[in-house]
């Protein structure tokens, strides 16, 4: 039995500690917002936050998150209200096919939590581990920069 917190809720899963956090989230907990793009930590589609740090859930054994706080895309909304970043992604056209969007949002969320007023270059560094093939990153960067003031 492994116990941890997902989006503020305590969960206990009966799973081998060696299983990937990505699979436990998607299959055991039914939270399919976290995506698999490569399974080897290159694309960032499975980015989640563990104790506020961005990690690739495909490279994390679920046993490693015992007692930790995990944040996924499903935890960004508050009481049915989109978070400012989510709103900005819609308003700026930052999501096209949307498969990278959950991971991108979490990388951006982590950036703004530690650097409330990032530069465009800060944003590029923060999302460099999250591949997007649709947008050229332009509108993703615009959307994240648009959240600077609201995030402070």
């Amino acid at each position: 039995m492994i116990t941890f917190t997902v989006n503020g809720n305590a969960v206990t899963v009966d799973a081998s500690g060696a299983r990937r956090l990505l699979d436990v989230l998607r299959e055991d907990l039914g939270m399919t917002g976290t995506k698999e793009g490569c399974g080897e930590g290159e694309c960032g589609a499975c980015s989640v936050l563990i104790d506020s740090a961005v990690v690739n859930a495909c490279l994390v054994a679920v046993g490693q998150v015992e007692g930790a706080e995990v944040l996924t895309v499903e935890g960004l909304e508050r009481d049915g209200e989109l978070a400012p970043l989510q709103r900005a992604f819609i308003d700026h056209g930052a999501a096209q096919c949307g498969i990278c969007t959950p991971g991108m949002l979490l990388a951006a969320h982590a950036l703004l939590a530690r650097t409330p007023n990032p530069t465009a270059h800060d944003v590029r560094i923060a999302i460099a581990g999250n591949l997007c093939r649709c947008t050229g990153y332009t509108k993703i960067i615009e959307a994240i920069l648009a959240c600077r003031i609201r995030a402070t």
Partner: protein
Amino acid sequence: MAVPLSSPSGPESVGRSVPRRDGRAKVTGCARYTDDLVIPGAWYGRTVRSTVPRGRLARLTQDPAFDWSQVVVVTAEDIPGDNVVQLIRDDQPVLVERDIRHREEPIALLAAADRETLEAAVAHVSIEYERHPPVLDLADATGEHARLSIDKGDVDAALAAADIVVERTFRVGHQEQLYIEPQGAIAVPRDDGGVTIHGSLQCPYYVHRAVVRALALSEAQVVVIPAEVGGAFGGKEEYPSLVAIHAALLAIKAQRPVRLIYDRHEDIAATTKRHPGIIRHRTGVRRDGTLLAQDIEFTLDGGAYCTLSPVVLSRGAIHAAGPYACPNVRITGRALATNTPPNGAFRGFGAPQSQFASELMVEHVAEALGLSSVDLRRKWMLQVGDTTATGQRLTESVGTGLVLDAALANTPPGTDPTSPSLRHGRGMALVYHGSGFTGSGENDLSSRVALECTSEGTFRVLTAQTEIGQGTNTILAQIAADELGVSWEDVTVVVPDTSVVPNSGPTVASRTVMIVGGLVAQAAAELRTRLATERPPLRAEKVYRQPSWIHWDDASYRGDAYPAYAFACVVADVAVDMDTGEARITNLIAALDPGYAIHPTMAEGQVEGGVLQGIGWATLEEVKMDDGAYLNDRLATYIIPTALDAPPITTVLVDNPYSGGPFGAKGIGEIPMDCPAPAIVAAIHDATGVWLDELPATPEKILEALGA
């Protein structure tokens, strides 16, 4: 009920960047992609593939020591219908019967209740081959998938009369589409003996037709429903037919749902790529720069099977002269067969390859004449009244000058060198791209759409166009709403389930807005008129016919290739590190003539994303091969641009309405891919003084050219 006809309930939506329909689902993680679908009782499927590039299947052995009672195995003899992947030519089998023509060719399919059993079963299948010598190099290829020639004027006489003839040969390599969601399909057996396919795909009716044929089912027994699609770029045009047939074969044999989801390694190793090619140009000019003749040989590597090579060749060849008016043009196109995995559709569809060469030829001719390449483009570029290489006389919406001026007007002053080892340069490219299927293609397709007004007074757009991120579900609603005079929020674009929507053709060829959007606008106009006198529910259907002025001859390749063309001009700035050979793109201006942008933000998004794919192709993305296999078949080794590799991209959209498009719109999905590569190579020359003839412009190639 009351349908607000004379007083629209909201402001007009066309031309405004309304929030995209699928935005909320995508930012909350609620959007359901294929692998997110929960299908109770589904088994997991896997494909067993060839490990030789050419040969014969001698024996497939299932280890008798393994418990096969828990596993379903499908081989060629289990295929109820034709062992053919339906597309253009019947050469590609669903599963190998005897002959193997490329590495990673599907030989057998396995399914089991859990992944562990499945992996164990795969490990207990062994295959013996009789190996034959493969043809792996385009230069050695003799087999031909397709050939064509385009002839205008008298090229030989014009070249003989020219003051200067410039000759150059260019080479371009494979490119992987690298949609972030890998290929996948889930097949669910139906009570009527048929199958329902949920999958990541961009052409539901292609998949439908292919599954019907291979499984010998009736059209009603096969239903194809795209899930949310995590990127496609052409990579999900033809390949999903194979994935869906495989999943369906397993599901029918297992009598239960089967999930066939590729991992990234399998996806890169086995699926189609952009065609590599060799393009040879001879251009004859007068000393004053007058363009006299273009003689072009355009050769593509189609890989082991025909797939879409004839039409990729066709589009590439038709665009091979570039957006220029030349009185004498000869374009000879060939798509050859090799024992490499089949190549297929990828954004641009041959035109990025051919216009990489044609744009660099402008530079080489300008250099030979001592003229500015910008001035030469202005002198040569197509204008209203000019004829293209196929003899098409352009009568409207020719945006060459508009995009060239807009790109230059938005170009910042050049950057001064920041260190002796860093050299800055700037390059330009001017390209065009026809909207919709080529020649008679749209008439052959005869796309159908429907628009319904429900008894509740809401509207439903029914087409087979698939939302793959490009914004179909939003844009078709905008077009319908404005023609109906209602709020775009009252218009739903339904999921393109083949049991529900008519066949409006594939989601390809920059055709969704101009061709299908045009039909939706016609249906909306009809419904608006009928609603004045009739009560809902109502349904209007429209079938596409090319404008009556379009004449095309498939035999001679003469005539009106496309109803309209989009035009684009980019200016790329690069910084080349003379010590390492690395070329960084530091800024890029893209001016584009979309006719009219239905949704400006999404149009910009198409430009920015397509341009970065073009930058990747030009600088980073290189497929290395060994014995017919892709060596860099993982995301750790096949490198695409990250946010740190991407330059700031400025998009300028210019209005230049086409009278045959909805609200003046043309297609712009592909043209952004056509323009970056030649501009970047020209910028590298501007920075370093050396010309590259081959993509990608890697540090190794740049250093080699510099003689380092």
